[in-house]
């Protein structure tokens, strides 16, 4: 039994989720594959978005996967770090914008 919740080697077993639900697993992987194809956005742009989201949802598997994916696409470390900051900025912005709610509530409750 692994003594941590996350094992890097589990990432390559991701496909096994289909074994317990073939239909849903296949639908998910088909969808996933389609999402990352070249489209209105380039596959390169999607890779950087995925990297940013991976950090926001704090998924260690996704961070490993999209760092490697970025390297494969020739994406530079500067581009990768900027995308992480985009994720971090949105995440901290999402916290801070609630400050407006706090201010309104404060004002409402105060004489």
């Amino acid at each position: 039994m692994a003594d941590t919740y996350y094992d890097p080697a589990d990432l390559r077993k991701f496909g096994k989720i289909s074994e317990w639900s073939e239909e849903l697993g296949s639908k998910f992987f088909d969808y996933y594959g389609k999402v990352f194809e070249e489209g209105a956005l380039s596959a390169r742009e999607k890779s950087l978005i995925a990297l940013a989201v991976a950090h926001v949802v704090k998924c260690p598997y996704c961070i490993d996967a999209y760092t490697k994916d970025g390297l494969q696409r020739g994406i530079t470390k500067e581009e990768m770090m900027e995308s992480v900051h985009v994720g971090a900025a949105i995440e901290s912005g999402a916290t801070l914008v609630h400050g407006v709610q706090m201010m309104k509530k404060y004002d409402k409750l105060s004489m």
Binding site: S42, R44, L71, Q72, T76
Partner: protein, 351 residues
């Protein structure tokens, strides 16, 4: 980065049998990953057999002015294996009579062979359609005696294929050594100046991209577009095609994978990316590789692993194309490198 070859360091990985032990053992021996043989047997491609011979690839020596971290040749300034003029004569006889349409000179840095120019002049007269020299670019700027190489290549209508791991300085120098990026840029500009790589020029200049680490190359066309844009914008450099080549787990790249703890993951990546439709186009089916001392191999990788052709004809002195073409190709687990994703060969993707 070490400035010496594995051989000069007396590293155990300088021995090809030790490399083969690693490639045949571990994950494969334990049944975690399938052997390449079984994988191609499943699609009826075992034993792998040659098609028509198209490319004669000659390695004129392992000496190089660089000691790149990923080099499967384990080349470097300390390597003394250099093709003699006598062996070149044997090559020329084959070149004059071969059915192959492409002659591909590689190394090491082929230009460092003292008889390189003589050999090129002689070989160019044989009238082979596509005459390639794999130049590492920095050699052109390494010493005054090499400064005129662009003109020399032009004179003999050589197709130049050069390594360029990235269009940024940091990634290039990390893989190939400090100063390599600037020197490569200067060399590319000089090749452009004599007409190489220009949009409508017949003087072919292609680049080779090898990933600078334990990951596979991405889409070749997308990488080519990125390289073209960046090199044009930043340095006004033109080139024709970009070949994305997968690093095979051999020699210094194998050493790097093991030392960095990436070997197992990398082998998983190669096996996962196995593309059955790439098998038919692997370069060993249309190429013969010749070593500095005249031995024959299915490819340059097999050459470095000491895996000679499985044929009665094993050396240039016994060369017979018909007999040679009737052979089974020697394979091992490094072959997954040529069937991963869109496939990989000295001419880029194959699938």
């Amino acid at each position: 980065m070490s400035t010496k070859s594995l051989k000069a360091r007396h590293d155990v990985l300088a021995q090809s049998n030790k490399q083969l032990e690693i490639l045949n053992g571990g994950l494969f021996e334990e049944g975690e990953l399938p052997f390449f043989k079984d994988k191609i047997d499943a699609i009826g491609a075992y034993p792998l057999r040659p098609k028509k011979l198209e490319i004669l690839q000659i390695n004129v020596g392992y000496m190089c002015n660089q000691v790149c971290e990923h080099c499967h040749v384990d080349a470097g300034p300390d390597r003394k294996e250099i093709m003699t003029r006598e062996t070149m004569e044997l090559c020329l006889e084959v070149i004059r009579n071969t059915g192959a349409h492409t002659l591909d000179l590689t190394g090491g840095a082929p230009e460092m062979n003292p008889d390189f120019r003589w050999f090129v002049e002689q070989a160019a007269e044989a009238g082979i359609k596509d005459f390639i020299v794999r130049s590492n670019l920095t050699i052109i700027r390494a010493n005054k005696k090499y400064y005129d190489l662009p003109q020399f290549f032009k004179k003999h209508n050589i197709h130049v294929i050069s390594s360029m791991p990235h269009y940024t300085r940091g990634k290039t120098d990390k893989q190939r050594g400090d100063g390599v990026f600037d020197s490569s840029i200067k060399a590319l500009q000089e090749l452009n100046a004599v007409g190489y790589g220009m949009p409508d020029s017949d003087l072919r200049l292609d680049l080779v991209y090898n990933p600078s680490g334990a990951f596979l190359p991405g889409n070749q066309a997308a990488l080519e577009a990125d390289f073209k844009k960046a090199l044009k914008q930043d340095f006004d450099i033109d080139f024709h095609k970009l070949f994305a080549i997968t690093n095979l787990p051999i020699a210094r790249f194998l050493d790097y994978l093991l030392a960095s703890g990436n070997y197992e993951d990398y082998m998983y990546s190669l096996v996962e990316a196995y593309n059955p439709s790439a098998v038919a186009g692997v370069m060993c089916t249309n190429t013969i590789s010749v070593s500095w001392d005249g031995w024959l191999y299915d490819c340059d990788f097999n050459q470095m692993l000491g895996l000679k052709v499985a044929s009665k004809v094993k050396h240039l002195k016994d060369y017979n194309e018909e007999v040679l073409n009737d052979r089974d190709i020697v394979i091992s687990q490094h072959c997954y490198g040529c069937t991963a994703g869109a496939g990989s060969s000295c001419q880029g993707t194959v699938a």
